[in-house]
Amino acid sequence: MDDYDTIYGSDRGPQITIKEADSRHAQIVLSNCDLAFANALRRIMLAEIPTIAIDIVEIQTNTSVIPDEFLCHRLGMVPLDSTNIDDKLIYTRDCFCDQYCERCSVTLSLHARCTGEDNVTVYARDLVIAEGAQLGSPVINDPEGQGTVICKLRKGQELRLKCIAKKGIAKEHAKWAPTAAVGFEYDPWNKLRHIDYWYEEDAKEEWPKSKYADWEEPPIEGEPFNYDAVPSRFYLDIESAGSLPPDEILQQGIKYLQEKLAAVIETFSNKNETGDGFGDGVRSPGQDYSMGGMGGGGAGYETPYQGGRTPFGGGGFGGATEYGGRLMGGHKCVAAVAMG
C-alpha cells in the first residue's frame, strides 16, 4: 500500500457507504474519490459487464401479428438470470463449437397458441429453459409471476420458436446491459458551479432540491467561491435490469476494470530486445496515419523543455525511427508508442 499512500495521502483513499439497497437497486456514496475513477466505474457498469441474452431465434411458426424481426428483438430484450455468469458460461467466440453449444449458450423454447375466444398474452414465464441449464431463466419480478409481455395472440394464432441465449456485453448490444440506469450525481448544492440553473425569476424557487442535498452541508450565505475545489463525493444509484443483483454489478464493474488494466499491463510488459523500456509496439508516428494522433499535431507546437518539435517528434510524416515498424500483439488491446 506504499504507492497507494503517496497517491492518496494518509486519508485511506476512497470510501463507500451504502445508502439504501434491495434486490433491484442500490444507492451508494463514493467519497474521497476522484471524478475520473467514479466515471470509469459508472461507464463500466453500464457497458462492459457480461450477462446472458437471447441472441439467435429459430422461428418455426409465427402467425401472430408481430413480424419475425420484431419478435426477435423483443425476445432479445427479455432479462435473463446471469448471476455468476463467468463461472458458468463462456463467449461463443472463445468456444470450440461451430455455432453454439451448452458451454457457450443456453436454449429456451417457446410454444404458445390461442385456441379460445379470448386473446392470449405470451409472457417471459412461457419461455422454457433447457434442462440442466445453470443460468438464463427469465427474470420475473412482478407479483403475478409473469415477467415481461412478449406478444399477444388471438384465436388461431401460434408461436413456436427456439431461442439461443449467449453471453455478451452492452457495448455490443444494449440487451446485455445489467443496469437499467446508473444514477450519477455530485455536488448537490452546486457549490462548484458546474451547472448554470436556468430560471424564470428565481433559481432557488424553481429548481427542486437534490435528493442527496441532506448528505452535504448547504452553502453558507456570502461564502467566497472556491475555484480550486473539485468534486470528491459521488452518489451512484445502480438500478438493475434484473439479470444481476446490484451488488454483483458493482463488484463485476471493479473486476472488469481490473481486467482492462491487466490486459494493458500485459501488452506493455512485453519488452523488445533493445531494452529501451518500451514494448514491442514502438513505431514511428505518421507511419500509418498522418498526424492523426493526439492533439492533431499542429506544426510549431512546442513543449516547454523540448523546443522546436511537434508532439510526434521531429520526423513528421513517415519519418522512420530506429525503433522500426509496428508490431501487433495477440491481444485486442495492442499498444503502440510514438517517441518524442
Binding site: 476512497p14 463507500i16 471493479i254 481490473q258 494522433g293 513543449t303 523543455y305 523540448q306
Partner: protein, 105 residues
C-alpha cells in the same frame, strides 16, 4: 530525426480502450509527482484507439521514462480497484436493511 532528449516524453496508443480507461489513467498518471503532463485523446469515435501522452519533468529523465510512469499509473489504478473492492465489501457487511429494527450504522 532529431530527438534532443530521447525518452523524456512519449505518446502511447492503446487499441480497444476508450474514456473508461483513458480518463482514469490520465488522472492517476498526473498524480505522479515526476510527471509534468499527461493527457489522453480519442482522435475519432469510430476508431477504437485511445492515445495517451506522457511528459516527464526534466530532472527525472535520468531514471524515469514515460513508460515507467505509464506502468506505475496502471499499477496504481489496479491498487485503487483493490481498495474499492475492499471498501465495498466492508460497506456491504455493515449495511443494515431498512425496516430492520437494529441500530443503523
Amino acid at each position: 530525426m532529431t530527438v534532443r532528449h530521447p525518452g523524456g516524453s512519449a505518446s502511447f496508443e492503446i487499441l480497444g480502450e476508450d474514456h473508461t480507461l483513458g480518463n482514469a489513467l490520465r488522472y492517476i498518471i498526473m498524480k505522479n509527482p515526476e510527471v509534468e503532463f499527461c493527457g489522453y485523446s480519442i482522435p475519432h469515435p469510430s476508431e477504437e484507439k485511445m492515445n495517451i501522452r506522457i511528459q516527464i519533468y526534466p530532472e527525472y529523465w535520468e531514471h524515469t521514462k514515460p513508460y515507467d510512469a505509464l506502468m506505475k499509473g496502471l499499477d496504481d489504478l489496479a491498487d485503487l480497484c483493490d481498495h474499492i473492492t475492499h471498501a465495498f465489501k466492508e460497506a456491504r457487511d455493515n449495511f443494515v436493511e431498512p425496516g430492520d429494527n437494529s441500530e443503523q450504522r
